[in-house]
């Protein structure tokens, strides 16, 4: 079948503003959007730029806006879009470098600001630290994050104000706050309690809807809010 792909292009060396460019591509219903982009780049327009690496939804390179919603291009099948016209645009809320490539630095800066690493200065045992399966299960959902930025760039609070720490950073803080081996939970809660922390979340759920790993992001944020309110980490 023939598919029309409309891509928001922007070349900083030539263009004043981003503009749409349309391509016709042959495709199968089981093709992914990434296949179409590769085909366009290979056969029609080599200057099209986008990030991709693993091509099966694990590395998080190719988050972009497909038909208005944030998704991974390599995890979006044409048949699931139910449309012969596909609009592909870069993520919102981050500066565009070129075409579908956005500047990820602000995103990673927020990520780094929540101490996303295990803090435990106690003498470690010779073997592993013990952790029951239930304690492990407590933060399982948020360990799945691949830092693709689909959630943060779907968040109206983040669009409005880039200072907001964003869902992805909170998810990664959550992963450690609720880890029974960690000792810096209260420090992280203090960071997230700030003006641009969790309370800028207005439970809009765009993040949960956008997450390609199906993490219950808003739930994680809710749990962090509750932990701030009660100090209870269960």
């Amino acid at each position: 079948m023939k598919v029309t792909v409309k891509i928001l292009r922007y070349d900083p060396e030539k263009d004043q503003r981003p503009h749409y460019q349309t391509y016709q591509v042959d495709a199968e219903p089981t093709d992914w959007v990434l296949d179409l982009l590769e085909r366009i780049k290979g056969d029609q327009d080599g200057s099209l730029s986008f990030r991709r690496s693993c091509a099966h939804g694990i590395c998080g390179s190719d988050a972009m806006r497909i038909n208005g919603m944030n998704r991974l291009a390599c995890k979006t099948l044409l048949q699931d879009l139910h449309s012969h016209t596909i609009v592909v645009e870069p993520l919102l809320g981050l500066p565009i470098i070129k075409d579908l490539v956005v500047d990820m630095e602000p995103f990673f800066d927020h990520y780094k600001s929540v101490m996303p690493y295990l803090v435990n200065d106690e003498q470690a045992p010779m073997r592993e630290r013990l952790q029951s399966p239930a304690e492990r299960e407590r933060f399982d959902d948020t360990t799945k994050c691949i830092l693709c930025a689909a959630c943060t760039t779907s968040c109206p609070s983040f669009w409005a104000n880039g200072d907001y720490i964003g869902p992805a950073a909170i998810v990664n803080a959550h992963r450690f706050i609720f880890d029974s081996r960690d000792r810096a939970s209260s420090e992280r809660l203090r960071i997230l309690n700030g003006q641009f922390g969790v309370f800028r979340c207005h439970t809009i759920f765009n993040c949960t809807q956008a997450c390609p790993r199906e993490i219950q992001i808003t739930k994680a944020i809710g749990e962090v809010k509750k932990a701030i309110a009660t100090g209870n980490l269960d």
Partner: protein
């Protein structure tokens, strides 16, 4: 052009690179240069687990792990290195756990382990639970944990910088030249020690589990700088890739009791590996699958088979095998157990196949997966440059890009992660020690010229007629057809001719994108050049080796020939020609025997 100075630079931010950076940064100033953001590296796709003889469920010893690895390597692995790796694996896994890696847990709170292909109890010959896992996303967790620790240690990251060349001054490594993707600007990283950890080159083959970015840049760079590469003819094909897509279904699926079935619904692995059946090592299973398909026993006569992890199938065969739980009760699983232990696999199948593996079998075929060969190194990750293992000062390699060689002719499942944590760590430690004890040399003014020239040659081809996508496609097809699981002299020679033709056509490539900012087309072209160079070396090394061993299996020479071929091959690129050489295999405890599973 910008010049940076660090004690140690690490090229590549996958598991090995981050591990090396983490340990190097404990004493030396360290920079990590990577063409991707660290979280995008291919380590993240590793699924099943990291092998270490912790013995959390049952008796297990590093010596058993050593023997299994030696046997898995078809006796081509260097046994001193293997022994070292298997001993170190245990402490390294504990260290990862202390860094915060969220392993799955046993009921009493220890790291959970599962059986994996080729890992056995040496006394009984039965599969042993040795693979330490975090659901089916162990690689993802390792990558995350290491990246988190690197952030904690405030390591300097240069993300989205493509390294184009290695700086060697009077036979000593002195840094790398890289291009910044976002601006197109050249950067020189001046360093006393360089650790290459750029990963593999599975993109040479058509059906591959490898990422678009696995283009063997590190190997190609050192090859161009006159260094040898080792054992390039050995490339692992993983038995269970999703049909046509090549996306990996972890061996853990079989570890949890999954069964391979042919078109007649038979469990064909019984005929090929009567003892461990579906948990034989990967080369054995891939060959068996290929044989089944070729003899017309594919599903509906087509070129794929079924991997079945439906609870009823698993329980049926587990009962036939007499498999038990750790507490001695019969092994049984439910649909929910499958979902809990293999969540990502279930997700992949639902997304890409529209198949729910709890209810339907998954169509699979072998997929190009892992490079056993690469840059030759010793136990400490130091790169060696000839048959006598002479060290090149200041240059290190670790991970898939390196060939220690612990994997020999065939890698065991879980050992890639073991490789990168053990040798990544030692490369980092030793590189820092070396760098702090040596002086920076003055860089000549023309260090970046070779890199600039490579890119300019691609860019200036305004009247070119060839397309990157076309050449890539032809290369991948010919390599899959002729230098895949089964190889013949005839097929490989045809492939070599084809690759050389493609190399010529590559010079006529046309780059449409004339810009500097994020010019992915230019860099894709450069990567294709690497792949073509490596494809040539792989084919030449494979033609030369007239025996079948591990992943290299020749129909015209179906037997292993220890008299003639118990040796590592080395390949140099000299004036555009490939020269081969050989070096002996280190054998300590285990004399080569016939390999039966």
């Amino acid at each position: 052009m910008k010049i940076h100075q660090f004690d140690v630079v690490v090229v590549g931010a996958g598991g090995a690179g981050l591990m090396a950076a983490l340990y190097a940064s404990k004493t030396a100033s360290t920079a990590v240069i990577s063409k991707l953001y660290p979280m995008r590296s291919h380590t993240g796709t590793a699924q099943g687990g990291v092998g270490a003889a912790l013995g959390n469920y049952e008796e297990d010893h590093p010596e058993w792990h050593t023997f299994d690895t030696v046997k898995g390597s078809d006796y081509l692995g260097d046994q001193d290195a293997i022994e070292f790796m298997c001993q170190e694996a245990v402490t390294s896994v504990y260290e990862l756990e202390h860094m915060g890696l969220p392993f799955s847990r046993t009921p009493d709170g220890r790291i959970a382990q599962r059986p994996f292909g080729g890992h056995t109890n040496n006394l009984t010959g039965k599969p042993v639970r040795r693979s330490c896992y975090a659901a089916d996303r162990t690689g993802h967790m390792i990558l995350q944990t290491l990246y988190q620790q690197c952030i904690k240690n405030k390591i300097n990251f240069f993300d989205e910088f493509q390294v184009l060349d290695l700086i060697l001054i009077n036979g000593v490594a002195q840094g790398v030249v890289a291009i910044e993707l976002a601006t197109g600007e050249m950067h020189i990283f001046h360093a006393n020690a360089v650790i290459i950890a750029t990963g593999g080159y599975g993109r040479i083959w058509k059906i591959t589990s490898n990422a678009y970015s696995s283009t063997g840049d590190g190997v190609a760079i050192t090859l161009r700088r006159g260094l040898p590469i080792e054992d390039m003819e050995f490339f692992q094909f993983h038995p269970t890739g999703i049909y046509k897509l090549g996306i990996l279904i972890t061996e853990g699926a079989r570890g949890e009791g999954g069964i391979l079935l042919n078109g007649k619904g038979e469990r064909f692995m019984e005929h090929y590996a009567p003892h461990v059946k579906d948990l034989a090592s990967r080369d054995v299973i891939s060959r068996a699958m290929y044989t089944e398909i070729r003899e017309g026993r594919g599903i509906n006569g087509q070129d794929y088979l079924y991997l079945d992890i439906r609870p009823e199938t698993v329980n049926k065969y587990a009962a036939l095998d007499g498999r038990t739980q750790p507490d001695g009760s019969p092994y049984r699983v439910t649909g929910d157990d499958i979902l809990a232990r293999l969540p990502d696999i279930v997700d992949f199948c639902r997304t890409y196949l529209g198949v729910d593996p709890v209810e339907q079998p998954m169509p699979v075929q072998p997929t190009a997966h892992y490079a056993m060969g690469g840059i030759p190194t010793n136990l400490l990750g130091q790169v060696v440059m000839d048959e006598k293992n002479t060290i090149l000062p200041g240059l290190y390699a670790a991970g898939e890009v390196a060939c220690v060689s612990v994997h020999g002719a065939n890698r065991l499942g879980t050992n890639s992660l073991v490789d990168l944590i053990v040798f990544g760590r030692h490369a980092g430690l030793d590189a820092a020690k070396y760098a702090l004890g040596s002086q920076f040399k003055t860089l000549p003014n023309d260090v970046a010229d070779f890199s600039i020239e490579q890119l300019d040659r691609l860019r200036k081809n305004k009247n070119g007629t060839e397309k990157i996508s076309k050449i890539t496609e032809e290369m991948r097809t010919t390599m899959m057809d002729h230098v895949g699981i089964f190889r013949t002299n005839e097929g490989m020679s045809a492939s070599l001719t084809k690759i050389r033709e493609l190399q010529d056509r590559f010079l006529q490539i046309k780059i449409q994108d004339g810009g500097k900012v994020f010019n992915t087309e230019l860099l894709n072209a450069w990567e294709l050049g690497n792949l073509l160079d490596l494809a040539e070396v792989v084919t030449i090394s494979a033609i030369a080796r007239t025996e079948s061993r591990g992943a290299h299996s020749r129909e015209d020479f179906p037997n292993r020939d220890d008299q003639e071929w118990l040796k590592h091959s080395l390949a140099w690129s000299e004036d555009g020609k490939i020269r081969l050489g050989y070096k002996p295999v280190t054998i300590t405890k285990y004399q080569p025997k016939e390999r039966v599973y």
